[in-house]
Symmetry: C2
Subunit: 229 residues, 2 copies
């Protein structure tokens, strides 16, 4: 039976987590490990690379590979479009555009997104529903200098979120998660008390250095973003 | 000059983001790409593997590698111990144990962490300060069946967080981020209004299937958790 890099990785990880190789331990060389596992050195190398990427071991060119004293904890979150987030939870999805205007970019947005004076933007507010109940409120700005076609896009048919993913799939983004109190508008749309604590995401995206969109998403009270490591 | 997998990856990514290879495009084979870049096939393979891991391309054994129609967005967050989070922001760190008791695990905790009836736990509340100002309130439970030494650990000297990282560095965790309104205790400790919206993390960790700790962290109002992709 062939020994895969996953076998090697799992075995090394189990020795580390069971303290056979405790924090700070210098591991055997890749050549020695390959011999003991009866596999190619490249197989051990790939396993080690993943353990290093995950912050479990630390590789130094001359000093060899050690178990980290404390692993670098890293949590990853998939960020699906909201329709998929809702449908994966087994609920039916619907969105509605609340308001849509075209205007000059306000000062705060010009500063935030590095737009020029006089640059035009589409400002959209949009509600997302799960099984008919308020799920998420979206407040979005789209740059018309970069995406003039946003002025006439049919956002009633396809949500701005999905339209953007289809139009500019490979943008770069800055994301921040935080908590905010519901103001009157959010309270009305999400059907909660004014002042309720809401989980909020803000995302700004660029494509090739050009501003695409700025969005602020507020989920209904009680929303949790979960992961494991 | 040697072509590295990073060069190959950057070039492929730039063709994808500049739409030379648009969404859905079937990419040339690894052999063809290796020939065109003048590098080993393994170099192209590594670049492709990373692009695949990052959700940019989709690899199918027989059908070849395609640019995804919509990339799988994934955001990663490093989760440092709070002392490092504060010190990296350039502030001075201090912690204080607010309360510490040893007791039978309450029912909700037994259910959540899969503890047995009669299992004992340490319950700690702890404040973390940045430049002397309230930064984070910690409400933590540690299983004494798994970690009996937690009963006598000197948490005034080393925070429970850092003590646990040093004692059980390689645990598995479930993490959830959410928003919560400050209750009277949180408001008093964090120096904010009752009802203020707080960013909250809950983390439950196990080691080899045995319960280690459950913690709920609430940051001062305005805290943001940021990343890029």
């Amino acid at each position: 039976m062939t020994v895969t890099f996953r076998d090697v990785k799992a075995d090394i990880l189990s020795r580390i987590t069971s303290d056979v190789w405790g924090p700070g331990t210098l591991l055997p060389s890749e050549v020695e490990l390959a011999a003991s596992y009866g596999c190619a050195r490249a197989t051990v190398n790939r396993a080690m690379r993943e353990l290093s990427d995950e912050g479990i071991v630390e590789r130094r060119r001359k000093a060899g590979t050690r178990v980290r004293m404390a692993p670098l904890r890293q949590a990853s979150f998939h960020i699906p479009v909201v329709r998929i987030e809702i449908e994966e939870a087994g609920a039916s999805y619907r969105h509605a555009i609340v308001d849509r205007t075209v205007q000059d970019a306000p000062d705060w947005l010009r500063a935030r997104m590095q737009l020029d004076v006089g640059d035009r933007v589409v400002h959209l507010t949009c509600m997302h529903f799960a099984d008919g109940a308020p799920y998420q409120f979206e407040d979005r700005w789209i740059s018309l200098s970069t995406l003039p076609q946003a002025e006439t896009a049919d956002f009633d048919r396809i949500s701005p979120n999905e339209w953007l993913v289809a139009t500019v799939p490979f943008s770069n983004a800055e994301i921040a998660f935080s908590a905010a109190a519901a103001d009157d508008v959010l309270a009305a749309h999400l059907g909660c008390e004014r002042g309720a604590a809401l989980f909020v995401a803000e995302r700004a995206t660029w494509w090739q250095g050009r501003a695409i969109t700025h969005v602020r998403l507020a989920w209904r009270p009680g929303h949790r973003m979960m992961t494991r490591y």
